[in-house]
């Protein structure tokens, strides 16, 4: 089977989500990687993608129309390429989720979203109902369009490959949409979805200042990424890109430290595959304790500073 993987990239480098998607794609067949982007960033991403273990070829489409991954333009690039492939695999990032269904519809294919395991050439496992159930589904379509939940697959080694890079061109700007701008949170901390340790805060943190005052020192000490419950994001304590949960980011770090998070099912859906879950909450009956490996009941405003000092 010939598989095309849509490369998720930023700042001229390949994002870790791509490496998980490549592991999933390798289970299906021969892997080619598509880098859609513009200029020097796209070029250096393609060079990096060519070194990923298991990538046999890199297709590089460099055009200003692909610089911001507009779904209208990138899907129009991918659809004709699919004549030569049996499957498109994209990481289930906001870009992957935006672009892949558009490709699937144009190919008249029912997409497999958020797969966590490859069971056979057309059979996959995926979570449904906020992860409260796992469905095994078999596709009857001639081609496959798949998005990959990155926590379900190990990262392919970023080096070891030596694929050729082939420049391709697509139809460019579809003339339907344009990119206006972005407000990105600039942070020195590791990426939430690939961090070894995540410290997450909930509504109990009271306000944005308190959230930072309590959570940030612990995260700094542990070199951790900062996450949050939906309630904390809705209340404006921290920006949306920190939300962990069914509709936010899905994380599976080695340590997940939940501070003042009660544990709604929608939140648990985003972090229950973490290796070690630590919960700090004043309510001994909070649902988070039912899945936590280590729980400490008490006042987070005294516990967390003490923990930060003693670690």
């Amino acid at each position: 089977m010939n598989v095309l993987v849509l490369v998720e990239h930023a700042g001229g480098g390949v994002k870790d989500a791509t490496l998980s998607a490549i592991t999933a794609a390798k289970a299906l067949g021969t892997v080619h990687a598509l880098v859609a982007g513009d200029g020097a960033d796209a070029q250096s991403t393609a060079t990096a993608a060519a070194q990923i273990d298991g990538v046999e070829k890199v297709l590089l489409a460099s055009d200003p129309a692909y610089a911001d991954m507009l779904a209208e333009n990138v899907s129009a690039l991918i659809v004709p390429l699919m004549a030569g492939y049996d499957a498109l695999v994209a990481p289930a990032t906001s870009n992957g989720k935006n672009i892949a269904p558009r490709v699937a519809a144009l190919l008249d294919v029912m997409q497999l979203s958020d797969i966590i395991a490859v069971e056979g050439p057309k059979t996959f496992r995926r979570p449904i109902y906020a992860g409260n159930a796992i469905a095994t589904v078999e596709s009857s379509d001639a081609k496959l369009v798949i998005t990959v939940r990155t926590t379900g697959f190990a990262k392919a080694p970023a080096t070891g490959g030596s694929a050729a890079v082939e420049a391709i061109s697509g139809s460019g700007d579809a003339g339907l949409s344009s990119f206006v701008g972005r407000e990105a949170e600039v942070s020195e901390r590791p990426d939430l979805t690939s961090a070894r340790v995540v410290v997450s805060g909930g509504r109990a943190l009271k306000d944005a200042e308190t959230f930072q005052a309590i959570i940030a020192p612990l995260a700094d000490k542990l070199g951790a990424a900062i996450g949050a419950s939906r309630a904390a994001v809705d209340a404006g304590y921290i920006s949306n890109d920190s939300q962990v949960g069914q509709t936010g980011k899905i994380v599976a770090p080695e340590f997940y430290i939940a501070v003042g998070i009660s544990g709604a099912i929608q939140h648990l859906a985003g972090m229950k595959d973490s290796k070690v879950i630590v919960a700090i909450n004043k309510d001994p009956d909070a649902p988070i304790f039912q899945i936590a490996d280590i729980g400490l009941v008490g006042d987070l405003f005294t516990i967390v500073p003490e923990l930060t000092a003693k670690l």
């Binding site: 779904a71 008249d108 958020d114 109902y129 159930a133 542990l222 994001v233 949306n240 729980g295």
Partner: protein, 249 residues
Amino acid sequence: MKILVPVKRVIDYNVKPRIKADGSGIDLANVKMSMNPFDEIAVEEAIRLAEAGAAEEVVVVSIGPAKAQETLRTAMAMGADRGILVETDDEVEPLAVAKILKAVVEEEGPGLVVMGKQAIDDDSNQTGQMLAALWGRPQGTFASKVEIDGDSVSVTREVDAGLETVKLSMPAVITTDLRLNEPRYASLPNIMKAKSKPLATKAPADYGVDTAPRLKLLKVEEPPVRQAGIKVGSVDELVTKLKELGISA
């Protein structure tokens, strides 16, 4: 301008789903059902646009069993003007839903389709993008802000790195994220009034769409159960445990 809002009847978001004993699916018998929460946000956004004078009519459409009428009535009680039920007892996959919606769009000619980014039952997150593709129009997915400006619409999107804004030429498809708005509750007089708003009933065949599934559901299982671990009594104990497990500061 007309705004079309597709809505789905799903298990209520507070209900923990039960898997059928034979692993054939989720048991929905006697389970509380509600409008998909993201769709409620879509209905609210469409009504606000109409209230602000940007649209004249809000049409809601649902594809599902006869009981999906209740979901349409809820949307009309919130303020939508009329409803279309495309009635079927079959499970309809996102691709087929998108095809039916495309046929409805061709009939209705909306300037915007506003819909939830995903349904909380199958969590596919596909239908809006698929409709936009089949319709040949742009999409603003995971929207947290929508501003109409003449023939185009600016959509601020919640993405992995924060927020980004795109400008789409209309007609366009918008899918809603959690922070776009807070849906209103329908008042009792509006619930009464909604009962007399027009509701048309159609079938997938009226639109010439084959809803035969492309994906075969082989089984549904419980996820691996995570056992509760230990509770520690002090920060010192917690620090000891964390160090044993290899955390490093």
